[in-house]
Amino acid sequence: MPKFQQATLANGLRIVAETDPRNYSMSLGYFVQAGSRNELDPQSGLSHFLEHMMFKGTQRRSAEDVNRELDELGGQSNAYTSEEQTVYYATVLPKFQDRIVDLLTDMMSPILDGDEFETERNVILEEIAKYEDQPPFGGFERAMEIYFSPRGLGRRVLGTSESIEAMTAERMRDYFKQRYRPENIVLAASGNVDFDALVGEIDKRTASWADRVAAETLPADDADSIPEGIELSHRVVTPDAVQAYCIQIGNGPSSGSSQRHAARLLATILGDEGGSRFFWDLIDTGRAEVATCWPQEFSDCGAWFNYLVCVPDDLESNQRFMREIIHSVVEKGVTKEELEQAVNKTAAGYIMQSERPSNRLFSIGSRWLIHNEYVDLDQSLTNIRSVDQAAIAEVAKTYLSEEPTEILAL
């Protein structure tokens, strides 16, 4: 059986692991509480830009060294940034544990070189341009901006072209010292990991992280203004699109809510890609290209998304179908058979995912970072299997009764 272990270092850095000597691989990840919701207007896009710059060299390694060594360890490594966290992770063979610990930990003390910053600014601008060309053409970002306001959870993870053009390396260094303090960081590991060796190494290597102190104090944002580069229209203009894209956003449970399991099952019953109510009415019939829904959990609140893509001429009738399906679930709940099917499918999915340490890493690290809580596979299965029809009905009434906010891209 996998074994859970955890430690908190003197500097406040937390280490958690789900170890299993039977695994062929090990995964390691730094989970940092630094996301777009932590940014102020002049810092917009900084968490993500910084994520890129963390690969650009340390006191001991050049940018080339970092990328080369990551590749020398042969595994999969990458990073991502969301509204609430930035994550750096790698999956390697167990024999490389010492080297990947050394490398990832060293990366967490970047030099943030000015020249590298200028080159990487272009890469970020290209990334923004790339997403402008991809459906739904910034529609999800717009939905978040309108629903949460363009600040806090509604702030764009990539920032805007304007905020990235205006960014300085100095401001990034300061943001780094503010966010990458040990109390904001969890190191998570999973798979075939030597936990005691891990804790010993990290303790030695991160002692100085408590010395990070931000110099700059930025003024609070003016809540009455709209940040530069942001539009709040419910209509996203896409001159060339052949399909219509409809995004609806409303309230949902947080990642700490006991309703989250029921909400996930409800989303499976309503909007799963094969065999849900939306699927049979809208996808199987060829009425829409996409018709789905999902809860998005944040640490202290949540959102519920509905997403519809179809021929523009069919948009209105398809919106009506979706509304009726949602209305019906709010009024009548779900059947016993539907719930059973969703539970079986979800439980099997959890079991299958758990075979790879790289899959387990993210739920272990994120959960500990935000909630200081560990949920093992059996507990996750119990949580899912104990949801009943009444709990689903309750969630549907709580979150789906109100008209959602709607954004159209067409």
Binding site: D240, G286, I351
Partner: protein
């Protein structure tokens, strides 16, 4: 479960692949992976795009969709309910040569799941009243691609690379989809869904004897027919520009290469790995990291049974597009001139690690087995592949790329301005 870290780290010791030709014409391959909780299968039929009539593009996909709309004693909804209740994570799809159905699941569901798929491929209802729905589904897919510039250029460059017969996409065109009727569907089903050339691969917590017995019961009396050889590719060098008011210029390129199974395949593949696998690869380092020209740039190998190609993509804002194209193709051209041992070594570690980590996924093994068997006519044991990779020298890679410099590029761009090619 497995005994110790020591022995389970040696994949070959516990997971011998066995091959079982059934009298009906289907070949069954089994790889037991007793340390897993799951089982996975891939069922691959010779019902690919290349078997479609010229003017019925999209027919293979349409039939692949239709067979899943009710089979045996089950309606379409029954099938999905059973699959979900068995915990199957399923997929199906059509490629140039084959139609494939696959799923991963908790191991105890395997027997029932296999029987369900025997119904789907052998006893489908092909309900006439659902043809319009299936057609509409495919039209939605076609329209979706039109809004995805990356997919659009990659799809087009593939057509240009292999020619209209082998290179065309599985979605068809608005015209060809409109022309497909219920006779086409029945005839194509009759002609291509049979045991001839069929491959069933199973990996995970299963035993070979049990799998073969189940397969014999489910497919043993399936009819069989001969399968045709693959048509020849017919692509030619060309540059094509698609005018669009996009934020980026999307660049797709391809040039001819050798297929999997060719004696030089891994020498060629290592070169592409050095160019594009990983964050220290040449394209990532020299086009993105050093010059900041783009966010995405990559090249990869693709293989049909009788032809191959290297395909690449870069997306960049119009002002940097010409430089991006020039630098990218320049790096590919110059590949053999300054190869270093360390580059090959890194690529080898990557492949070796991937092979070991594949032991954590039954789905990944089942699908590798199916594609190996189709391409080279036998299973490729992990240990053998590992030896080939290990034995590869820098001279092999250099020699291959010096003797076969990339040429006859097919290039497609989409954006506000044409490039100089």
């Amino acid at each position: 479960m497995s005994t110790s870290t020591q022995s389970s780290a040696d994949p070959s010791s516990q997971s011998e692949i066995t091959t079982h030709p059934l009298p009906c014409g289907m070949t069954v391959l089994v790889q037991p992976m007793p340390w897993l909780r799951t089982a996975a299968f891939t069922l691959s039929l010779r019902s690919g795009i290349q078997t479609e009539p010229e003017n019925r593009a999209g027919l293979a996909s349409m039939v692949c969709e239709m067979v899943q709309r009710g089979a045996g004693s089950f309606s379409s909804r029954d099938l999905v309910a059973m699959q979900d209740n068995l915990g199957m994570d399923r997929n199906s799809g059509v490629s140039t040569a084959t139609s494939s159905f696959g799923a991963a699941m908790p191991a105890e569901s395997f027997g029932e799941a296999l029987n369900l798929y025997a119904d789907i491929v052998r006893r489908p209802h092909l309900p006439a009243d659902q043809i319009e729905d299936a057609r509409m589904m495919m039209i939605q897919e076609l329209r979706a691609i039109e809004d995805e510039p990356t997919q659009r250029v990659m799809k087009r460059v593939r057509e240009l690379h292999y020619g209209s017969r082998l290179g065309r996409g599985n979605q068809g065109t608005m015209e060809s989809l409109a022309a497909i009727n219920s006779d086409d569907i029945r005839q194509f089903y009759q002609a291509t869904y049979h045991a001839g050339g069929a491959i069933l691969t199973v990996a995970g917590r299963v035993e070979a004897d049990t799998v073969v017995q189940l397969a014999q019961e489910a497919f043993g009396d399936w009819r069989t027919e001969d399968v045709d050889d693959a048509p020849l590719p017919s692509g030619a060098p060309v540059y094509e520009h698609i005018q669009a008011a996009s934020s980026q210029t999307h660049i797709a390129f391809a040039f001819p290469s050798i297929p999997y199974g060719h004696p030089d395949y891994f020498a060629m593949r290592a070169g592409i790995g050095i160019l594009s696998d990983g964050m220290s690869s040449r394209l990532f380092d020299r086009v993105r990291e050093k010059r900041g020209l783009c966010y995405t740039v990559s090249a990869s190998c693709h293989s049909l049974i009788n032809a191959g190609g290297v395909f690449g993509y870069a997306g960049t804002t119009p002002a940097r597009a010409q430089e991006t194209l020039d630098v990218t193709l320049g790096e590919i051209r110059n590949l053999p001139s300054d190869l270093e041992q360390s580059e090959l070594d890194r690529w080898k570690v990557r492949i070796e690690s991937g092979l070991i980590m594949e032991q954590e996924s039954s789905a990944s093994r089942a699908s590798s087995l199916a594609s190996d068997f189709y391409q080279i006519g036998r299973a490729m044991p992990t240990a053998e592949l590992s030896e080939i990779i290990e034995a590869l020298t820098l001279d092999d890679v250099k020699g291959y790329w010096e003797k076969h410099p990339p040429s006859d590029y097919r290039i497609v761009t989409l954006g506000p301005e044409k490039l100089n090619v």
